[in-house]
């Protein structure tokens, strides 16, 4: 179980890492250190947001996803394209072309995650009617944000809506529909998410809020982009029924999810640092009257995911245009009731806090460590240069106290020490008979 707990999609390619400070500085949970010239990810802290993948100039941070060939493990294969996929291609004005292209890549069936998003919207609308739920209700759709809340905002866990993500809901809908239609066994069917995002991969292997994922694997948009592009340019139009509503497609963009809910008092925030700022305010009760909070780790929303190909701003605009043409209708109440019976759409496992920032389990020990951290911090230069491998002087002080670093990791401390040693050596050298002072006396 322990191993599973720390599975991460985001990993380091040691050979490419140059040990610079770009990633350690940007990590929102201070989960990266440079030690012995290479970055190291602290597994307990990493939330798979992909920020380091985005900022690494040497592409040393990668997201491990499944290769397209992995679908061959299954007799029947279903593709679940994230709505973000639609915005990746130039000159595509019909979503059906993309869905048909996916079938040509070896999938037997395609089910839009955007349609699953329509169901999520309907379930969340129900949750919003319940006055006893803690406000603001927080979206569960961005897995990096759910993990961020576990690590940094445990007090807000109860605000997370207990409706599962579009990916999980779509996976069940797709498998059920396919098995019913063709009379095959569920275990013969492999369901694959086409992902813009590393955190989704992690949530398939190690879900939060549910025991097991209904998805068998995740293939990144980057992995299939080239092949899919070739298919699309060949296709004219194929008979695939696009089902998602304009709102479902709009989920790819930040604010799309909230817009679909049709409520007034919501806040949609994208970019993980921005989300942190707002969660701080929610935690401090500063945002009263807020009904719903949609927080997305990537800039612009899922269109800005680290595993996409197209510029997020361009993609955002395409999604807007494509969503206007989407043909599906919102989910009716009867439909919702029926689907609600068939699939498990609730997050029924308790989401647990992960207080990794805590210094010690014992409060007195924690207090002692805090005092030592303060002392060490005051002796450091306060430049936050990152040369020591920790993101800031403050974190270096914490790392020293936690036993992961030493004061001499600080280049300024080291220089001081060298200077002091050099002076000591000069002093010592003068004590040697026949040294400089001896000679001066003779002259």
């Amino acid at each position: 179980m322990k191993l599973k707990e720390y599975y991460h999609s985001v990993t380091l390619r040691r050979d490419k890492c140059r040990g610079c400070t770009n990633c350690i500085k940007r990590c929102p949970t201070e989960a990266i250190r440079v030690r012995d010239g290479k970055a190291r990810i602290i597994a307990e802290r990493c939330i798979d947001c992909g920020e380091c993948i985005r900022v690494c100039p040497y592409h040393a941070k990668v997201a491990v996803t499944d290769p397209l060939s992995s679908i061959e493990r299954f007799r029947y294969r279903i593709a679940l394209p994230a709505p973000t996929l639609y915005g990746q291609f130039k000159n595509v004005s019909d979503i059906n072309v993309i869905l048909a292209g996916l079938k040509n890549l070896g999938f037997d069936y395609v089910y839009e995650v955007a349609r699953g998003a329509d169901y999520v919207t309907a379930f969340v609308k129900q949750a919003l009617k319940d006055p006893n739920r803690k406000r603001p209700i927080i979206s569960s759709s961005c897995p990096a944000i759910v993990r961020l809340i576990q690590v940094r905002f445990p007090e807000l866990i109860d605000n997370i809506v207990d409706v599962d993500s579009p990916m999980e809901i779509t996976a069940q809908l797709a498998r059920n529909e396919f098995c019913e239609k063709y009379g095959v066994k569920p275990e013969e069917v492999g369901v694959f998410f086409i992902t813009p995002c590393a955190a989704k991969m992690t949530s398939i292997r190690n879900p939060v809020g549910r025991k097991e994922s209904s998805v068998d694997g995740a293939i990144s948009i980057q992995e299939i982009y080239g092949q899919l592009y070739n298919q699309i340019s060949k296709l004219k139009r194929e008979d695939v029924a696009q089902m998602a509503s304009p709102f479902g497609v709009g989920w790819a963009n930040s604010g799309g999810e909230s817009l679909a809910l049709g409520i007034d008092s919501y806040l949609a925030v994208d970019g993980i640092q921005n989300v942190i700022r707002v969660l701080e305010e929610i935690e401090d009760d500063k945002l009263t009257d807020l009904e719903y909070f949609e927080g997305l780790a990537c800039p612009g929303g899922c269109v800005g995911g680290p595993l996409t190909v197209e510029n997020g701003f361009v993609a955002k605009n395409r999604i807007r245009k494509l969503s206007e043409k989407a043909k599906g209708r919102p989910v009716s109440e009867d439909e919702l009731h029926e689907v609600g019976q068939k699939i498990s759409w609730r997050l029924d496992e308790k989401i647990l806090p992960k207080p990794v920032m805590k210094l010690d389990d014992d409060i007195v020990e924690a207090m002692k460590k805090m005092e030592t951290i303060k002392e060490i911090y005051e002796s450091l230069p306060g430049l936050d240069c990152g040369s020591c491998g920790s993101p800031s002087c403050r974190t270096l002080a914490e790392d020293i106290v936690r036993g992961y670093a030493s004061e001499m990791d600080c280049v300024f401390k080291l220089r001081e020490k060298v200077k002091q040693l050099a002076l000591e050596m000069i002093e010592l050298s003068e004590k040697i008979p026949g040294g400089r002072k001896e000679k001066e006396r003779q002259e």
Binding site: L359, M370, K374
Partner: protein
């Protein structure tokens, strides 16, 4: 439990009218408490109270100090200033009563909820004030054994 009398203190200076750095002291306090492993519900209560106390110093006082003291049994947040003092504490404790100046209200503060909010979050509250001398606000929280 060993070290029952162990305590740590941290003092933050809060400038009057400095809205640019307002809130920094209470956010530091929140970070410290999280690192100490204090229960998250209590952390939330303390940081809300500390924020309100800090804003009171910024808006109403001539400037002062916000102090955090933690022992294994309790958390105390103290806000102390050198003036102008509160003429009628009972009135100031009433919800909706505010003497905040126009500039604070324009920024969305001064709803008259500061002190009542602090009281709601705290386990105990001690407030002493003398017009012309200053105000001392002590906010007490108990750390319950888990």
């Amino acid at each position: 439990m060993t070290g029952g009398y162990y305590s740590i203190e941290q003092v933050f200076h809060v400038k009057a009218g400095d809205f640019a750095s307002a809130g920094e002291a209470s956010s530091q306090i929140k970070k410290i408490l999280k690192q100490l492993g204090i229960d998250s519900t209590l952390v939330r209560r303390v940081s809300i109270a500390a924020y309100e106390a800090e804003m009171n110093l910024v808006i109403h006082s001539v400037g002062g100090e916000l102090k955090l003291k933690v022992t294994p049994q309790s958390i105390v947040v103290t806000a102390e200033d050198k003036g102008p003092g509160i003429p009628d504490i009972d009135l100031a404790m009433q919800e909706g009563y505010s003497t905040a100046p126009e500039i604070a209200r324009e920024l969305g503060f001064g709803a008259g909820m500061g002190l009542p909010n602090i009281k709601r979050c705290a386990d105990r509250l001690n407030i002493q004030s003398k017009v012309g001398e200053g105000t001392l606000l002590e906010i007490y929280f108990d750390i319950k054994a888990r």
